[in-house]
């Protein structure tokens, strides 16, 4: 019997995957025509909803942008064993390259297995690594293997994983905790969600290996409350693992016991910082603690604790199963293995991209992502979220490596990659991030609490056309004092988006301040709308949609906008079918 698999991550479901699944199920009530299953997100978000059909031979036919209306066609094609009837839905060879060009380790099972079935996971060597670890290896050997692999924290800081594990192992005391940071707060990053939704058992297995290595008896996953599906699938996976004896007392008769629970976060970006996360786990406001002592010495309830993020743990079982050397064989001198990027923004093919370190930004954005959509020009790529920076076109050949990316002023971060084209204003971008950090600053340190507010004020006045000479220098001064005066990673890195945009797009800041112009045409205070008489056919649609009646003209005649009345809402441009409304 053929197997029909619907990609049902939360982005797939938002695109309509659940409706496709329900329609297919209604046509297969007796379960005789085909086997219907779900899978996690395979990362090809630009083609959702996706349906994979596996023939008995194992051959795969991938259908894209499927709607519930296609269900009948799919069901009959599968029943009649005639998949050529589905040619119009099949993925194009060009789009298929998106996946073919990747090397998947952390995402190895996403979009392949059913995340709600532990049997599916076991069938593809799942829980084999933990068996090997518990029955054949000492904790020291596990840490040594991770050291060989060169695995570094994928959450942002890039700290060597083995070092943290070793510190927590060496700390005294019986009671220790292993914590997973799944509070994926970076706007623009969603790989951790994809891993939990698509392959929750590999997270459990990776965490178990870590818990054994440091000697923890309890594991906690701190997940964002904004990810309800991830929480549901992880809860289900924990119950399954408990039933099969992978969690609980005396796991696999090894004498090692460990339990696991989920803690839903309540929405605070700063809780991605490990000591703030611990405060939040203890039920308090998530305000960072002074380090030292580090969590490895005094963390959750002041007991030795180790915190890694989801993507880091997703690599662990693979490393122990295949050997650290195989992982270290990929990448550069200082950055080993692969990294997942969430490619979004103005790019043609957006989604999750996992590639070995050492590839270039150009490889990811142009070769895999297909470049900018709509024939526009690439302007910059924002990496590392509110802690990162904007990298311009001249640096697109920078290799993906912690050090090389750091040298640009951006950071590897958790892997958000937001691509911007010529229509994105860089002053607006800097303002956007400052608005975010000013809101998310926990308020503990004065430099961060007030400094980000002052910076936001300066950026707002620049965008509003009220910038003054010396504002750029003032911004820079504020940036450096926040960097020096903030306690935690959020504050220390908050100025990065501003520093990088000033560094690479200083001319845009100057255009706003000196010429009172927004080159990208985005800052409403600095733009004006006009109607191109060559293109206007006089349909009067713009005039009908103008909320302030600023547009005049008779039908079939060229219309015009009165700049005195115009509030620059953009309704005319949005409604013109002929591209006659132009922004200056």
């Amino acid at each position: 019997m053929m197997k029909v698999v619907v990609g049902a991550g939360s982005c797939g479901i938002a695109a309509g995957a659940q409706k496709v699944y329900d329609a297919l199920q209604a046509l297969n009530t007796e379960n005789t025509a085909f086997e219907l299953r779900i899978t996690g997100c395979n990362g090809m978000c630009f083609l959702e909803p996706i349906v994979d059909i596996y023939e008995e031979s194992g051959d795969l036919t991938r259908l894209v942008k499927v709607t519930a209306a296609d269900a009948q066609k799919i069901a009959s094609a599968v029943e009649n064993q005639n998949l050529s009837a589905l040619d119009t839905l099949k993925i194009s060879d060009e789009d298929a390259e998106f996946l073919n060009k990747q090397t998947r380790i952390a995402l190895r099972h996403c979009g392949v297995i059913d995340p709600e079935s532990i049997e599916d996971y076991e069938k593809i060597d799942g829980y084999r690594a933990i068996r090997k670890v518990l029955l054949e290896m000492t904790p020291e050997q596990v840490i040594e293997e991770i050291k060989t692999s060169g695995l570094a924290g994928r959450g942002g800081a890039g700290f060597p994983t083995w070092f943290k594990w070793n510190a927590a192992r060496s700390a005294g005391g019986e009671e220790k905790y292993l914590i997973c940071n799944a509070d994926e707060g970076d706007p623009g990053a969603f790989m951790d969600r994809a891993v939990i939704e698509g392959d929750p058992h590999s997270l459990i297995e990776g965490m178990l290996i870590g818990a054994y290595a440091i000697g923890a008896k309890e594991m906690i996953v701190y997940v964002r409350a904004e990810y309800p599906l991830a929480i549901k699938r992880l809860e289900n996976a924990i119950r399954q693992a408990e039933k099969k004896g992978y969690l609980g007392e005396n796991i696999l008769n090894s004498g090692f016991s460990c339990k696991m629970r989920i803690k839903a976060g309540a929405g605070a970006f700063v809780c991605g910082e490990e000591t703030a996360l611990i405060e939040s786990l203890e039920g308090s406001r998530g305000m960072p603690r002074l380090k030292p002592p580090f969590p490895a010495q005094a963390g959750y309830w002041h007991k030795p604790s180790n915190i890694n993020n989801v993507e880091t743990f997703a690599n662990v079982a693979w490393i122990l199963f295949n050997g650290g050397e195989k992982f270290a064989a990929m990448g550069t001198e200082g950055s080993k293995g692969t990294k997942v990027f969430a490619l979004t923004g103005k790019v043609r093919r957006g989604g999750l991209v996992e590639i070995p370190m050492g590839k270039t930004l150009r490889d990811v954005i142009f070769d895999i992502g297909g470049g900018i959509r709509g024939g526009k020009q690439f302007k910059a790529v924002q990496m590392g979220g509110p802690s990162g920076g904007c990298i311009p076109e001249s640096l697109l050949d920078t290799v993906i490596d912690y050090k090389a990316l750091g040298a640009t002023g951006a950071i590897m971060g958790s892997g958000g990659m937001v691509v911007m084209d010529e229509d994105t204003c860089m002053v607006g971008m800097a303002k956007f991030f400052l608005d975010f950090t000013a809101k998310e600053s926990c308020g503990k340190c004065v430099h961060c609490r007030l400094g980000t507010k002052r910076m936001l004020e300066v950026l707002t006045r620049i965008a509003d056309g009220n910038g003054q000479e010396g504002d750029i220098e003032l911004l820079e001064e504020l940036c450096y004092s926040i960097k020096d005066g903030a306690l935690c990673g959020l504050g220390q890195t908050a100025p990065n988006p501003v520093l990088t945009t000033i560094r690479y797009f200083r001319n845009e800041f100057e255009a706003h301040i000196l010429d009172k112009k927004c080159p990208a045409g985005e800052c409403t205070a600095l733009i004006s709308y006009t109607i191109n008489p060559e293109k206007c056919i006089g349909c009067a649609k713009c005039a009908r949609n103008c909320p302030v009646h600023a547009i005049s003209g008779t039908v079939k005649q060229v219309h015009s906008i009165d700049p005195e009345i115009c509030i620059k809402c953009g309704k005319c441009a949005e409604n013109c079918n002929f591209g006659a409304v132009e922004v200056h």
Binding site: R224, A264, A268
Partner: protein, 168 residues
């Protein structure tokens, strides 16, 4: 200014099972508040006082926690909670335009509720559906690739749905 919450009398017994489970477990305050919000839709003041009495945590600390995290609300919300994503990808792809559309259609800004109690608008940082940006989530259902027209259609459908529900 007179406190507007003095007349609120919530059914505190609804919280009994939650408090029986968590009141004496250290570090459970956020979990208790999350469960309370699930029950009451927000955190009424008498509920906060009740939690304080049962857990021994001072009301000031509870308020500190409740105001720190974006998830918690101290006012009731509408039947439909619109969480509009203002993440980077959504910003680049025009979430400001969507916010403007919602404001124009419903007459509410971020944090406000319509007079008929149907819709509340809340801007959120990132919903993690960046490839479908701009995105909003209404009562756990995600709507992606929004345009002003699509947004208006969704809001109109929900309004019609609510009216239908009220009539039957």
């Amino acid at each position: 200014m007179e406190c507007s919450c003095k007349n609120v009398h919530s059914d505190l017994s609804l919280l009994d099972t939650v408090l029986d489970t968590y009141a004496n477990v250290d570090g459970s305050l956020i979990t208790i508040l999350q469960k309370a919000q699930e029950i009451y839709g927000y955190l009424p003041q008498d509920v906060i006082r009740h939690i304080s009495e049962k857990t021994g945590i001072k009301p000031a600390k509870i308020m500190g926690v409740a105001t720190f995290y974006t998830q918690f609300r101290l006012k009731p919300v509408g039947k439909y909670l619109i969480m509009l994503c203002k993440g980077t990808a959504c910003h680049v792809n025009g979430s400001d335009l969507i916010e403007k559309t919602i404001t124009e259609t419903l007459g509410i800004h971020d944090g406000e509720t319509t007079e008929d109690g149907l819709f509340t608008l809340k801007n959120v940082a990132c919903l993690g559906c960046c490839s479908l940006s701009p995105v909003m989530m209404i009562n756990e259902e995600t709507y992606g690739s929004l345009t002003p027209d699509k947004t208006k259609k969704i809001l109109a459908e929900l309004t019609a749905q609510a009216k239908e529900g009220a009539n039957t």
